[in-house]
């Protein structure tokens, strides 16, 4: 089910401001790819171009190609809604729907898309919550509001919600930056399990986290404030953290930059 992503010559704009320029990379299926780099270098923007969430922001537009198993996401006649069903996303801050219970939150993707069988719904919810390592904590209070959970539980609820619609790719935008170390560990373990089924792309500011969870790491940087962000290099995580081929990467990783 996991799919490969092939990006070539991708440039993204906010209105007239060029946010990222000419990015090309390949993301292998059933692997974890981490994006690191300073704030404002366009990691999140690039991540959002991978499921066409970038154009939700007003003035957002994209040039270039993003191939999902040989199909161009920006090709003619492609429906962004269908793209987002294949490429799911988990956000920086946990955002469960406040009007819905835990059960309804996980079922939201199926229910709101209107494509489900009633009998399967509770199975899907249980499977997704188990997949997000949350089932044991919430199985007795599925009808309680999702916003009553702790931050780490809420984030795992959001992951359960994202995987309930069976995407091919899961994008994670700094999923642990609002969480404590124990919740972070839970999410990282979860990422390790999820990569058996999904292609995972994760943006993180935490370099130890990138080193722990990812197979490949991409380093983004920008020449100066106001300049577009660029992909400096992408390689096996081990190589990036031990012997990167670009000096800027080594400076950033070791804390000497500028």
């Amino acid at each position: 089910m996991a799919k490969r992503i092939d990006v070539s010559g991708l440039t993204a704009y906010y209105g007239s401001h060029k946010a990222i320029e000419d990015i090309s990379m390949t993301v292998e299926p059933r692997s974890v790819t981490a994006f690191i780099g300073p704030s404002g270098c366009g990691k999140s923007t690039f991540l959002r171009t991978l499921n066409r969430m970038h154009e939700v922001t007003s003035g957002g537009r994209v040039e270039g190609k993003v191939l999902l198993d040989d199909e161009d996401l920006y090709g003619q006649g492609i429906d962004p809604v269908s793209v987002r069903r294949e490429v799911g996303m988990v956000f920086q801050r946990p955002n469960p729907f406040p009007t819905m219970s835990i059960f309804d939150n996980v079922a939201a993707g199926l229910r709101l898309n209107g494509s489900y069988k009633k009998s399967e719904l509770s199975d899907v919810v249980e499977k997704s919550l188990k997949g997000a390592n949350l089932w044991n904590e919430v199985k007795d209070r599925l009808n309680k509001p999702g916003s009553g959970l702790s931050g780490g539980q809420q984030q795992r609820l959001c992951i359960a919600r994202a995987i309930a619609v069976e995407p091919k790719v899961l994008l994670m935008d700094e999923p642990c930056s609002a969480l404590d170390p124990i919740s972070t560990l839970a999410i990282e373990d979860l990422i390790g399990e999820l990569k058996e089924r999904f292609t995972i792309v994760i943006v993180t500011h935490n370099m130890q986290q990138a080193a722990r969870v990812s197979d490949r790491t991409a380093f983004f940087n920008l020449a100066a404030v106001g300049q577009p962000g660029k992909l400096i290099e992408i390689d096996e995580t081990e190589r990036i953290f031990s012997n990167p081929s670009v000096q800027a990467t080594e400076d950033y990783i070791s804390g000497r930059f500028g």
Binding site: N51, M53, V56, S58, V81, S82, V83, R84, R85, E86, G88, M89, F91, R93, N95, F97, P98, T99, A108, G109, R111, L112, N113, G114, K144, P145, S147, G148, C158, R161, A162, V165
Partner: protein, 353 residues
């Protein structure tokens, strides 16, 4: 020996002198007594005068006493608190006085008979009669106005917040602002001019149309604010699940803000329920029961109050009926507000654990 025992501590620099907790009440009581004394000595008869003097004395007294005991910074703090209290009392006094006079004069003739009978053939100078026809007319006209204005208003707000970009949205916002400022009599005249073109007689629904014009901008404004309060992250979360935009709005954005939107609509209803001018022009008034809002003159509560009061010259009966109808109208609006609060609380996003 840096940590040798310090024997001479001296006074704490963190703790200053402070007034006891009961001091504001004492100062308030003192200034009221002094205010009464001054007015008695000067022969001022109005209760507003002694109350203003007492309020002024309270603020001044608080500052002087606190400045002497606690210092200037705390004195300023206490003066700010005192000002807030005085302003609060000044705002509440007219409200309480209004409610009190309406209740004390309104209960005279307000009973079950009054609520369930029309004026029928009762002359304005005679006692008896009731407001059933006015309640019925008010309910019908306001309900019809709501049925027209609420959906249009909510949909306009959804357009402005979720879809509106560029010139059209700016124009809509501008015209909604202009509509907010339309005096109710102008809305009435607008509908009246159309009625005259088609040579129509006054009827209830014409009043509803004018009320809908008045209600729409209020609904748009309040709904817009409520929709803006919905965090963008929820929209993105829904979109990222592959939910189309219209379903996101319908199933995520609207439920999240439903409580606030309902409150806004209820407040808009409360606002138009008291409108007299357009009803006077378009619905005309009727002392008989007319349950059909689409044909013939109707009555409405505010119009009934106006007509009874205007015709009361020398007749205590009409005067009493006007007050009783006022009390009914206030109760009606208050019940609407309570319902709105109830719905807002019931529909508010849940945070329980």
């Amino acid at each position: 020996m840096s940590n040798a025992v310090i024997t001479d501590k001296g006074p704490s620099t963190l703790r200053g002198a402070s007034l006891p907790k009961w001091s504001p009440y004492a100062i308030a009581a003192g200034s009221v007594a002094l205010g009464l004394g001054i007015s008695a000595a000067a022969g001022l008869s109005s209760s507003i005068q002694w109350a203003l003097i007492a309020g002024l004395l309270f603020v001044l007294g608080t500052y002087v006493i606190a400045a002497r005991v606690e210092g200037r910074r705390q004195a300023k703090d206490r003066v700010a608190t005192a000002l807030v209290w005085v302003a609060f009392l000044l705002a509440v006094v007219p409200l309480v006085s209004l409610v009190w006079s309406t209740i004390s004069r309104g209960v005279k003739v307000l009973d079950f008979y009054f609520l369930t009978h029309s004026m029928g053939l009762v002359a304005d100078s005679e006692p008896g009669g009731g407001i059933y026809h006015a309640i019925l007319g008010s309910l019908e006209q306001v309900a019809l106005a709501t049925v027209i204005a609420a959906p249009i208003g909510v949909l306009t707000a959804i357009y402005l917040v979720e879809y509106g970009r560029g010139k059209l949205a700016k124009a809509v916002t501008f015209f909604v602002d202009v509509m907010t400022g339309i005096p109710s009599i102008v809305a009435g005249l607008f509908i009246l001019s159309i009625m005259l073109m088609f040579d129509m007689q006054p009827f209830g629904f014409a009043g509803s149309l004018a009320l809908a014009i008045l209600m729409m901008p209020v609904v748009v404004r309040s709904t817009e604010e409520m929709l803006k309060l919905v965090p963008n992250e929820l929209r993105e979360a829904s979109l990222a699940l592959g939910v189309p935009k219209w379903r996101t709005i319908l199933k995520v954005v609207l439920p999240t803000s439903l409580g606030g939107i309902t409150t806004g609509i209820m407040l808009a209803i409360a606002r138009i329920a008291g409108e007299t001018a357009p009803v006077l022009l378009l619905v005309w008034g009727n002392s008989l029961i007319n349950a059909n809002p689409f044909e013939g003159a109707q009555q409405s509560l505010p119009l009934y109050i106006y007509q009874q009061y205007a015709n009361s010259a020398g007749a205590g009966a009409a005067y009493d009926r006007a007050w009783a109808a006022s009390l009914t109208l206030i109760a009606f609006v208050m019940i609407l507000n309570l319902v709105a609060r109830g719905i807002a609380r019931w529909k508010a996003p849940k945070t329980g654990r």
